[in-house]
Subunit: 376 residues, 2 copies
């Protein structure tokens, strides 16, 4: 093991506009264009849509969740199907969270060795350690796996955050060491990202980032943000992290997906995003539009023959009117959630494409300002 | 008004095999191949799928329900969208039930004039008469509308059935008269079917059929069967009806969609079918296969990498394994219901296609026997 290992995946920044980066994340299996938004398929499925739908929407990377999948159906079963790729018949990229975030919301018993927690499915006891998180994610076939981190719910006293940062570093070292002993088995086509912690404290964020860089990862995530703090509170610790992270490695902001947050984080040099926000909004009847979000179940849309977003003619939902979709919602027809999910994902992928183009054309600041005007 | 009116739609029987008929139901808008299975879009949507999906599956006719749509969102709103065609963006054929079946399940106040009932949505009082049923269905833009009938829940004393048959005839006459005064407004492109009642009594069935034929409809439905009686009990009253119905008009068996029932009814000369069975089965985790139905949520499918039906390679669900779909079901992922619905509809449309081919090749008896062996 050494931090001189050639990092995986191939990552190349091809254009910069202000702090924003336009790049490519290259695996043999698939190349993702960055900045990239990754829809969340917690249980190996993005709610209401299929892998075929994700392909048609042009998604590059689907997220899976280690915590949920290790419990149902279990990583051994998924491994027999050829990982999530074979299981869900999804042959672009898969990123899996380490499970840390979910486990720490369950008040686990934690010591230096790992975390013991009770399954939310059946109350059974389970253990997650940095090494086990690696093995589970290898079994899941993740192209990009996350190291097990310690993610204390915010707000928390500085002492708690500091302990979390220390243990995150300890676990990161063990997780990385274990991962590197296994990497050769996968022809170098598996990547592992470290996760910067440190709460809202810029200094602790930099300490955490340096510790991870010393270990050396294939990419770096910023975790433990976008958990209820304001956007203003989020920016400083984010920038503190990204300004010292290596420029030649991808940066991933975990759990962020609203348009204003996206442009702010892209401006801070982030390349990758995931969030349940667009799909959860959809299931609650909210459509994303260039004019902001609209709640389509409102009575005023009953007679509307306009599409969800008249300014987004490429939407896969555009053959149906607001009035029809509102009717489906109000009588509980499941097609509504699906139509809105397809729309919101397409809309967000389009925003990412517009961000990428604006970086290449060096007018990202303009798009950022426009986006903040509507969504800020 | 006269029963010498030219019937709509164009209907042509092109082949016969035993009692089974292969035909075409022709509207300017679309031509349906018969025998045809019509998926049920009660509230202007077939549950979990969209009109785009129905097109890709090759559906010819979608059902809508007058009772539900008159209450939510109301026929006036749908009319402003150009009927169900414009509302759901579905441009093949639409058949609407008159609402009689639903209304009679609500213990309505019925007299010769019509039926008064309480909405299951909000308890508000509504009235349905033969004339109003016509007007609502015209507003919904139905290509094929059903006359308001009296459908008493079975079993019922012969006296109740006889009264229902008499009132059905009375209402049919009024409904037809009202419809014919409106037909010219629609360039002759709207059809109205009568509904044969009579419970399980072959004699009453024939009385009812003759009364409707005397009035003269564009097609004839058999109603009030497939409501809990055995298949054996169903056959005699069905055959009593079809054997005297005009051979040059389409015949529609309301509410039947299981494979054994379908081949038996096709053998009795029925051309059209609808049922929630395949889509409801799908939402409960049941897949249709050439070997019979299987409940995919059973533990024995957890490790199966076979598709839902290995003998049906054209299934739109075939890229996913039984094991993956079972996982989606067991963790409550909505994609499961959609994948199974798409499969079951495709499977049933394929059965109808095999039935149509077997009639043309005059080997329907063989396919019927095969189907009954698995599904009987």
């Amino acid at each position: 093991m050494s931090n001189k290992e050639v990092p995986i995946p191939g990552f190349e920044v091809s254009a910069i506009s202000g702090g924003a980066r336009r790049g490519q994340l290259s695996f043999d299996r698939h190349v993702a264009q960055t900045p990239v938004f990754m829809p969340v398929g917690t249980r190996a499925s993005v709610r209401t849509v299929t892998s075929a739908d994700l392909e048609s929407l042009g998604a590059d990377i689907m997220l899976g969740n280690t915590y949920h999948l290790m419990l149902r159906p279990g990583e051994a079963l998924i491994e027999r199907f050829g990982g999530i790729h074979g299981f869900a018949d999804w042959h672009r990229l898969i990123l899996t969270d380490s499970g840390g975030y979910q486990v720490f919301s369950l008040e686990p018993k934690v010591d230096d060795e790992g975390a013991t927690f009770k399954s939310t499915y059946d109350g059974s006891k389970h253990h997650l350690s940095p090494e086990r998180a690696v093995d589970i994610q290898l079994a899941l076939g993740s192209d990009i796996q996350m190291v097990l981190d310690v993610c204390p719910p915010l707000p928390a006293p500085k002492k708690v955050i500091r302990t979390a940062v220390e243990r995150t570093a300890l676990w990161a070292e063990r997780g990385r060491a274990h991962f590197l002993t296994r990497r050769d088995a996968f022809a170098g086509q598996r990547a592992q990202f470290g996760i910067v912690q440190g709460g809202l404290d810029p200094e602790l964020r930099q300490t955490s980032a340096r510790q991870l860089m010393d270990i050396g990862f294939d990419g770096y995530a910023v975790g433990g943000l976008s958990v209820g703090e304001t956007r203003a509170e989020m920016i400083e610790p984010l920038r503190a992290s990204t300004e010292i992270l290596p420029t030649d490695r991808p940066r991933y902001f975990m759990g962020l997906g609203d348009p204003a947050g996206l442009v702010e984080a892209v401006a801070a040099g982030v390349d990758m995003f995931d969030c349940v926000w667009p799909t959860r909004m959809a299931r609650h009847g909210t459509a994303l539009t260039r004019q902001g979000r609209i709640n389509i179940s409102a009575a005023r849309y009953a007679n509307s023959d306009e599409p969800l977003d008249p300014d987004f003619p490429q939407s896969p939902a555009n053959r149906w009117s607001r009035g029809y979709i509102r009717h489906l919602l109000s009588v509980g027809e499941p097609a509504a959630a699906r139509i809105l999910t397809m729309h919101n994902l397409a809309w967000l992928f389009d925003l990412m494409e517009r961000i990428r183009i604006s970086i290449v054309e060096d007018r990202f600041a303009e798009l950022r300002a426009e986006t903040l005007e509507v969504w800020g």
